[in-house]
C-alpha cells in the first residue's frame, strides 16, 4: 500500500531563479517516482539556480528518498546550484540528523530565511 503524497510546485515572480516544491504526506520508495516526475523537469531547467523544498506537511520519508535528495544535491552542486529545506518537522529533522543529510543540505525555519540565504549564495 503506497502512502499518500501531495506535491505542489510554485515560483516567486520576482525571483525567477528559484523554485519552491511543497511536499506533504509521506514519501517512500513506492511514491518516490511521483515526486521525481514532478521535480526532475524543474531541476533540468538550468535557469533555476536554487530549489526550496517546503516540508511543512511531510510526516515521513524513507531512506530511498534521502538517497534521492543526496543525489539531487550532488547533481546540482556540479553546476553551482543549490537545494535547501524549510519547515522541517521534528520527525523528519530527526531522520536528516540521523543519516547526516543536514550536513550537506541546509535546513531553514521558513521561506524568507531560505530566500535570504540563497540570495547571498547564488548572487
Amino acid at each position: 500500500m503506497s502512502s499518500q503524497l501531495n506535491i505542489l510546485t510554485s515560483a516567486i515572480p520576482e525571483l525567477p531563479w528559484l523554485s519552491v516544491v511543497h511536499l506533504s504526506g509521506e514519501v517512500d520508495e513506492l511514491n518516490l517516482p511521483q515526486m521525481e516526475t514532478a521535480v526532475n523537469p524543474l531541476i533540468q531547467d538550468i535557469n533555476k539556480k536554487a530549489f526550496i523544498f517546503d516540508l511543512a506537511g511531510l510526516k515521513f520519508l524513507s531512506s530511498r528518498v534521502i538517497g534521492y535528495f543526496a543525489s539531487t544535491h550532488t547533481t546540482l552542486s556540479r553546476t553551482q546550484r543549490r537545494i535547501v529545506f524549510i519547515n522541517v518537522s521534528p520527525t523528519v529533522n530527526d531522520i536528516f540528523l540521523l543519516v547526516g543529510l543536514d550536513q550537506i543540505i541546509p535546513c531553514y525555519a521558513n521561506l524568507q530565511q531560505a530566500v535570504n540565504n540563497l540570495r547571498d549564495m547564488t548572487l
Binding site: E29, S63, R64, I66, A70, L98, V99, I104
Partner: protein
Amino acid sequence: MKFLRDSLTKKALLFFTLLMGALVGTAIFLVRKNITTLPVNLFLGILAGLIFLILLLFLYDVVWPMSRVARQIRYLFSGKYYQRLEPVTIDEIGMFTHFFNEITKDLEKISYDVRERRRMSSELDIASQIQRDVLPKEAPDIQGFDIVAKTRPAAEVGGDSFDFLLSPDKQQNYIYIGDVTGHGVPSGLIMVMANTLIHSMISMGMTNSRDILVSTNTLLTPRISSRLFMTLVMLRWNPVQEKLYYTGAGHEHILVYRAATDKVEALRSGGIALGMIPDNSKILEEKEIPLAVGDSIVLYTDGLTEAKNSSGEMYGLERLTKSFLKYGYLPSSEGIFDRLTKDFAGFVGEYVQTDDITVIVMKYAGKSAVTKTKLMISEETQIQKTGVWSWD
C-alpha cells in the same frame, strides 16, 4: 471470389452450387440437343467426374490446409520440432493457422521468460549464498561481552550487514552494523563492497574506527550510485583498557541500558552515511561509550523501527526503547533479544517484511565473566507472506 472463400460455410455452398449448376447445365444441354434418354453409365460417369472435381477442390482448399496445421499442433503437443505456417486460405482454417502462429510465438516468449526467470532465480540464490558467506558464521568471543546478532533480509539478497572483527595484534575488537538504502541485489553488492573494504582497513592495521570508516567512504563513494548509501555504526572495544568507542556514519541510535540507573540512553550515532559525500573526514568522529558491568547495548537497522502494524503505525524508536527498558536488566543477551523480538512481533502481527531487519544485543558482563557470542543469519530466502512475524 474472395467473398466466397472467406468461410467454410460459403465454400460448402459454392461446392453445392457448382454441383447443382453442372447438373442443371448438363440437363439444359441435353434438352437443347433433344436427348431425352441417357445411358446410365454415361450419367454416372459424368456425375462421378463432377463429384471428383469438387472433391479435389475440397481437398485442396479445406482438407490439406487443415491437415498441415493439425500436424504442427500434434508436433507442438508431443514436444517435437514444429514450425509456424503461412496461411494459405482466408477462411476459418486460415484464421486457425494464424492463431497457431501467434500462440506459438507467445509460447516461445513465455518459455524464454520462464528460462530467464529460472536463470535469474539461480543467480539470486548464488548472490544470496555469497552474501551469507560474507556475514560472519561465527564471531570471536569478545571478552566480557555476551552477544546475540540476528539478521533477516526482506528479499533473497539483503542490504543489512554486521560483522565482528579482530585487529591483527588482537588488541581491538570491532563490531559493526550497517544498512544500505533499500534492499535487494544493488544493496547487497554495496554491502559486500563495504564489508570487504572494512576488513581490508582493519587487516592493514588501522585501529581507530573513525579512520576505518573515513577510508572506507573514500573508496566506496566513487564506486556507487549517488542515490545509494550505507548507514553504519562501528564499535571498537579495547579489552585491555576496558573501553568501548563508537563511530557513527548516519546510522540509527545506539541504545544503552544502564544497569546502575535502570535507564536507557539513545545515543545518536552521528556522522554522515557512507557514500553520500566523497570526504566525510570532517564529520566523522570516534567517541567513547562509558560502560559498567550489567549494561546492555542494542544496535539495530531501520527495518525494525520502520516496520508497520496493520493500522499503518510504525514500531518506532520509542517502543523499542520502552521494550529495552523492560528487559535490559536480564542477565543474558539472548534473553533480552527474545523479549525484544516478542514485543516487536506482538506489535507488527502478520507483518510482511519490506526491509531487512538486523539486531545485535550485547551484554557487558565484566572482563572476567565467561561469555559467548551467538549469531543467526536467516537461511530463509522465501519472503514471509503470512503468519505472525518471526525470525524463523
